[in-house]
């Protein structure tokens, strides 16, 4: 595999320089599945309005780390998290913190599109209804339309909002899931390999969408495609066997990585 061509890297360099304040911070985070240590002490900041990509070979802990950021690991039995993760300075593992509140602020998009087997409208409206964000039907309609517009899906589905979300194509379903996530106005969106089940055209659309969303949200994206990391992210973090090897501006990671492991992975010596 050849190095990523320089012209796709660093497209987002200007915007990355704007971001400076940390939105979320992880300090010496360790995650255990039973006795197996999956994450071995990671310090990482996610800046405001930045897109950060997590890359690394399979089983390196990038998805696990992503899931510690909105406590989705809570749903896994025997999973234990150590260290601190903060959102705007607030410890999200503080027992007094309501996990429902956290997940309203940190949204998530999964690897496989998972729309609810309900109508397109209900899919998007579910979050706002849940949190009581809409005052009346008109308000809800507006939130749904805005979310679908921002997810670039409005024009394709506006005439069939009452049709099941599961009847859409894979790429449309994933954008519906993104619309559903942004309908609750989160501050951070976590994406766990959002394009791995999609074809190249649908992937391109999602990437475009990520680019647009980054003006309003912090986005952390796990990806197996290095081209994708290079195309969409401001910064890239390389994970290896549960450790964070390197985190740098995407351009730097793909052209002059600091660490030989990063270089080996990027040049395709393992993966």
């Amino acid at each position: 595999m050849k190095m990523i061509s320089p012209d796709v890297i660093g497209q987002r360099k200007e915007s990355s320089e704007v971001a400076s304040k940390a939105k979320m911070s992880a300090r010496s985070v360790r995650v255990f599945y039973s006795e197996v240590e999956a994450i071995k002490g990671i310090d990482l900041d996610i800046m405001e309005n930045e897109v950060i990509a997590f890359i690394g070979p399979s089983g390196c802990g990038k998805s696990t780390f992503l899931r510690t950021l909105n406590r989705m690991n809570d749903t896994i039995e025997d999973c234990r998290v150590e260290g601190t993760v903060t959102l705007d300075g607030q410890d999200i593992y503080d027992p007094s913190l309501d996990v429902v509140m956290l997940r309203a602020q940190v949204g998530m998009v999964f690897q496989k599109p998972n729309p609810f087997p309900k109508s397109i409208y209900d899919n998007v409206a579910y979050g706002p209804k849940l949190h009581g964000l809409a005052r009346g039907r008109g308000d809800l309609d507006e939130i749904v339309e805005n979310s679908l517009r921002r997810a670039g899906l409005w024009d394709e589905v506006k005439d069939r909002l009452d049709k099941p979300g599961t009847g859409l194509s894979g790429g449309q379903q994933q954008r519906l899931c993104i619309a559903r996530a942004i309908a609750v106005s989160p501050e951070v969106i976590l994406m766990d390999e959002p394009c791995s089940a999609l074809d190249p055209i649908a992937t391109a659309k999602i990437e475009e969408l990520i680019d647009e969303l980054s003006s309003q949200y912090s986005i952390a994206i796990v990806t197996h495609s290095m081209q994708q990391a290079a195309r969409v992210s401001d910064r890239t973090a390389y994970f290896h066997l549960g450790e964070l090897i390197e985190v740098n501006n995407t351009e730097k990671v793909f052209t002059q990585p600091d660490h030989h492991l990063t270089e080996a992975y990027i040049t395709g010596r393992f993966g």
């Binding site: 749903t75 429902v100 999964f110 496989k112 998972n114 087997p117 579910y126 849940l130 099941p164 599961t166």
Partner: protein
């Protein structure tokens, strides 16, 4: 490429071809066996249904005597029905009412019945015993109730369908060997001859009879024995099971599947639920007798106790079916809801349960159908008693449809109750099939495509 490799290839191909023949033969054999098994199963089911229908359907028609009954005022000497007088205490009124009722009962209704035939055949005036043997013994109460409800009938002539005695029914239908000697016949020769005569004259006919559906069981008057009592008992028990076992079962399944921590205690609970599902049902009957009757002092033979016992028996089925259908909901749906900020309860009730509903309903209905057909535990809580009333509350003594089948099957008037037994089976099977059809319909209705 040498000749050697070519010949090597042809050898391999020959081997493959040979093994292929064997493989195909094996496949064909397997398919034939499978098809044969399915066909055999279907044939047995068809045989079962046909034999039940052939035996049971005739029971819906019964030997009926159509005759003009003269409510002779000289025989029915009845004062007008008492009405409450002004200033009368309720007690005094009820005493007068009871006196009137006993006056009504004291009327010689049998004589009125006999007269309806003697009017056609005056020569029988001296053999009233033979004439009376034609009618099933409950017909006199039929006449009494007619007059009690409408005293204006007195003095009138009304053509009525009167149910013939069970033995007459057996005789005219040929369900007893007509060539048997008199000592082995159930009817006297004169009655047999009279029955044949009336049949030939068109007075005695085989007519559709509602008795089976509207009457409770009867021993003194087998021809009017019906399953209304057993049906109501089964209905009450079914309602108790639906309102007790289904909500409790579904709630426990949801808790165990979605909320309970996985530890030794929940493992133990799970193993025990699975074991309970395999416990012979008669054991639940013993449990019910010991706890509900001996300890809680609930009434014997009551559908309430039966319903409680059957609920206990049905619970594991409902729990297991519900858990299986909850498990079948993809975890991605739970994750999607949780990631949007739904609490676990919300994720379950908004998304998981609606998707599991078809399976839950199917499990619940199959459980209820199973309870409906259960006999053994009911025998131990006194529901095999002979009950000649139709229960109006779950506290009344009652029996159940499958128990009624069991009781009729053992009745000594074999050649009459054989058809009745099969008819009861038809009613029970109809209920089962309707329940299963309901389960299928509900599943189709709530099923959602992904």
């Amino acid at each position: 490429m040498s000749n050697e490799t070519l010949s090597h290839r042809s050898i391999i191909q020959a081997r493959v071809a040979k093994s292929l023949r064997k493989r195909h033969a094996r496949e064909r054999r397997f398919r034939v066996f499978g098809l044969a098994a399915v066909l055999a199963g279907l044939a047995f089911v068809a045989l079962l249904f046909i034999s039940i229908l052939v035996r049971g359907l005739p029971a819906f028609w019964q030997a009926t005597i159509t005759a003009e009954v003269y409510f002779d005022p000289t025989l029915i000497q009845l004062e007008p029905r008492p009405v409450p007088r002004e200033g009368e205490t309720p007690q005094a009124f009820s005493e007068r009412e009871i006196a009137w009722q006993s006056q009504l009962t004291m009327v010689n209704w049998n004589r009125i019945l006999e007269n309806s035939i003697i009017a056609l055949k005056p020569e029988l005036a001296n053999s009233r015993r033979d004439v009376r043997a034609l009618f099933t013994s409950s017909e006199r109460f039929h006449l009494r109730d007619l007059v009690g409800n409408d005293p204006s009938l007195i003095g009138q002539r009304v053509t009525l369908d009167l149910v013939a005695d069970a033995n007459v029914d057996v005789w005219v239908r040929g369900n007893i060997d007509r060539s048997l000697p008199d000592s082995q016949q159930q009817l006297r020769p004169a009655v047999r001859a009279l029955a044949d005569e009336l049949r030939a004259e068109g007075v005695l006919n085989i007519k559709f009879s509602k008795a089976l559906f509207t009457n409770p069981d009867s021993r003194s008057s087998p021809a009017s024995a019906g399953l209304a009592g057993a049906f109501m008992g089964s209905l009450f028990m079914m309602l108790i099971v639906i309102f007790l076992a289904v909500p409790v079962g579904v709630a426990s399944a949801i808790y165990l599947e979605e909320f309970a921590p996985r530890n030794k205690i929940t493992d133990l609970v799970e193993v025990n639920i699975n074991n309970l599902a395999a416990v012979p049902s008669i054991v639940f009957g013993l449990l019910g007798a010991a706890i509900f009757i001996n300890w809680f002092r609930l009434p014997l033979s009551a559908p309430l106790v039966g319903g409680l016992v059957l609920s206990l028996m049905t619970l594991p089925t409902v729990i297991i079916a519900t858990r299986a259908s909850l498990k079948a909901v993809p975890p991605s749906i739970r994750h999607a809801a949780l990631a949007l900020g739904a609490s676990r309860v919300q994720a379950v009730f908004h998304h998981v349960l609606p998707l599991a509903i078809p399976g839950v309903l199917t499990g619940a209905i199959i459980g209820v159908a199973q309870a409906l057909g259960e006999t053994a535990p009911l025998l131990l809580i006194g529901m095999n008693a002979f009950v000649a009333n139709i229960p109006t509350t779950p506290f009344d003594q009652s029996t159940a449809l499958p128990v009624q089948i069991f009781l009729w099957q053992g009745n000594e008037l074999r050649n009459f109750f054989e058809a009745r037994t099969s008819a009861a089976i038809i009613v029970l099977l109809t209920m089962m099939i309707s329940l299963n059809a309901l389960a299928i319909w509900l599943r189709k209705k709530f099923e959602r495509r992904w």
